[in-house]
Point group: C3
Chain length 325, copies 3
């Protein structure tokens, strides 16, 4: 329950951004800078340092046009552990129904004093639009099927912690790839850091067009399994699917679930990730989800550490040039 500052070291020379909109245009050096700082925050958290008041006085606002208790809570906790204030502005009902534009809503929150805005919206590019129109820092917490950079970063951090490097690893993203912002952010980050990426799932959820992203694609988990180092099991979002893209859950599980049988045919040290919430028995069976190869709960803890690192990095501009204080 200590509150002393940790040894973060200086701001990385390479970091000049006051927004984090996606992983597509981050360099390997920038990605590594976030991961390195996140590692330090993670070590502090695990060691019992509950508060690192580096952002005291800063106000974070979670501006979520889509519901997401989990991601929102993770950002709130990250902000508070840094000593920042964190407020939620649930825009799902209020603003849109009153005819206000997204930019006006965000400008209002900024005018109230927000320094950082964490934005989720179902329209791709919304955080980019806000970044162009606001003075405060903008972090993309999911823009439709486009990007979800902090999810990508926490997945990559978890792999790096277990394996030491991304270089040369074969990482398979399995399941609902088609509409997955998590998949896109993972692909861009993983490839920049030297991993080989396979996207794998039923043909209704994976298409050859993904080759444009310079990844391998496959319809068969069993085919690729023997040479995979990391499996990232994207969840089937039953709550969003009106036309189910496969005949039955049983069939999906039969072909794509990670279970004991498949584990026996995989590399001994295969690493299992899943962004959660998981459907036990669909993407993954309980014995695998709770087994030693699984890093599912480590991902959640890493999520807080990654968001602390991102909040600290993007607000460095504010700290470098404090206005009038």
């Amino acid at each position: 329950m200590s509150e002393h500052p940790i040894e973060l070291g200086p701001l990385p020379q390479c970091w000049k951004r006051r927004h984090l909109l996606g992983l597509e245009d981050l360099t390997a050096e920038e990605l590594t800078a976030v991961l390195d700082k996140a590692d330090l925050f993670k070590q502090a958290l695990v060691a019992g340092t509950r508060r690192v008041p580096l952002l005291s006085g800063i106000t974070n606002c979670n501006l979520f046009f889509e519901n997401s208790t989990r991601t929102r809570t993770s950002f709130s906790l990250a902000a508070r552990r840094l000593g920042a204030d964190s407020i939620d502005f649930s825009a799902s009902t209020s603003s849109l129904s009153k005819g206000e534009t997204v930019i006006d809503t965000a400008k209002n929150i900024e005018a109230m004093g927000a320094d950082v805005m964490v934005v989720r919206h179902r329209t791709p590019g919304t955080p980019h639009l806000l970044a162009q129109n606001l003075d405060c820092c903008v972090i993309n917490a999911g823009d439709g099927p486009h990007e979800h950079p902090t999810q990508g970063l926490l997945d990559i951090l978890t792999i790096r912690q277990r394996r030491g490097t991304l270089q040369g690893l074969t990482v398979a993203l399995v399941g609902d790839i088609a509409h997955s912002r998590t998949a896109r952010s993972n692909i861009w980050g993983l490839k920049t850091l030297g991993a080989h990426v396979i996207v794998c799932g039923p043909s209704t959820l994976v298409s050859p067009r993904w080759k444009e992203l310079d990844v391998e694609f496959s319809y068969s988990l069993d085919d690729i399994l023997p040479r995979v180092d990391v499996l990232n099991l994207l969840r089937i979002q039953f709550e969003r699917q009106h036309d189910r893209p496969f005949p039955s859950v049983r069939e999906y599980a039969h072909l794509y679930a990670m279970n004991r049988d498949r584990l026996a045919r995989a590399k001994d040290d295969i690493l299992i990730l899943a962004p959660g919430p998981i459907n036990r028995g669909v993407e993954v069976t309980p014995d695998v989800a709770d087994g030693p190869q699984s890093a599912i709960l480590e991902q959640v803890t890493n999520g807080v550490a990654v968001r602390m690192a991102v909040l600290w990095l993007v607000t460095s501009v504010l700290r470098a040039a404090p206005v009038g204080s």
Copy 2:
């Protein structure tokens, strides 16, 4: 508006628990330990000490699968007055609809850094299940009709403050006993501390089977009234009842409402409790609810004090063995 620490004294020798799941298995010594500490917190609150930062750095999470603004707010305020951070994780919609298990939801929150989880769920035993599967502290804030231990404790604290002791008092619980977790927690706590308990209400809400809990039962408030020291008027939960268990509200009030007429036939120093929110004119008439025998608002203040005491006691394990700090 002071913030100085109060004289709490040492952790009671008898207290070894890192969860509070119910009052059924608490010893008289343990119950007394909570009440004694709650008394100290209450005195500090009333004296104007707004913050007692004993749990600085601790994160409390209210994990409510059922709505309850009141209990949730009371726990939040208790946590904050102790210097802890308190977040709400409203699980009513998000997790369940996404197919996640209750244990997985809770483990995710724990992995984000929660030290204490305050749980409400309509299924009896849910907090017990979580306590078996988590490393953090678990407090039951209501598990279906089973237990609501902090409500029981705040009722008992209010009685002890007004009467000095529970020993030898006759306490009647009146109204909707059948599905009341408040009734069960009261019964177990009151009996352990030496009170005689009567459960009283219409036969559809009270049954002879309650004799198994070693309490007296009665269908007539007027019969038992002359020998009652404390009346705890449980609210009729109109919003939950499809099949109303009595012919009319007027008939219920005629037989069971505490009014001026009944007050005249009761002991002079009878003490009136009601867990609230109260239905004025149903369980209790306004003149009685606002009269000198009523301790209804004292209960609310005691609720914050009791929750401060419980949070402080269950987290003592964390303080005793700080991890790495």
Copy 3:
């Protein structure tokens, strides 16, 4: 990101109130006292002083019986910037559906330890009723069509900052006057401070009866435009109107929208206000809303400053007579 106290000066001699229920009965001296303190808080905010911990230990509760993310967030941020704790008690569903009276709900929150209650309710007079029945401070955040004093104050503060004084200015309130609490609070405050007020809108939204408030009224924006110093464009609340009070949005905009054409016919230094959220193209066109005459976003920042001033002033009673500390 500094946290040092600002030079607020002493509590104004004229300020004796522990509630702010409306602007109707505030003297010019009292209004000026709030505006002066708000100016100091605004300067501190703009200069980068994020926290002014004058209300440390104080608990504010937003008791909103109607939804309002915007006003509620503004009060929360104001409270937190003063070092106070701020909780939301959303009463829309919980309490009313359980049959509790408004006074009982508020007394419960007070018994949990709230020092200030910010109240919004659709029934005029609700905050006044609570002020009579509670010991804590009450601030009206909107009581039906009656008053919304902090909105009135922030509008007036914005005018005073831009013009130096209210004395002798002609201020027109345009649009949905009939049911506007913002209009009423503005009228009373503006007139007390020496401004001339015109209410202007379609006859279905403005009636000659407003003459009782000793204001000029007009059905034609074009008629009054040349002599107006300040235009306050009240929003058309489409979401509340079942029977639309004008034939079409296009017709409303044709007659009452502030656009480039009208701006050319107005005084050069006309000041444009709008309480927001704005309907671009209805009350105001984008070029005007984003132009140099517009102070729309300044209003939002002033809203936080005004609420800081009000919170600091009404709680001065608590600070003057600290109970037991």
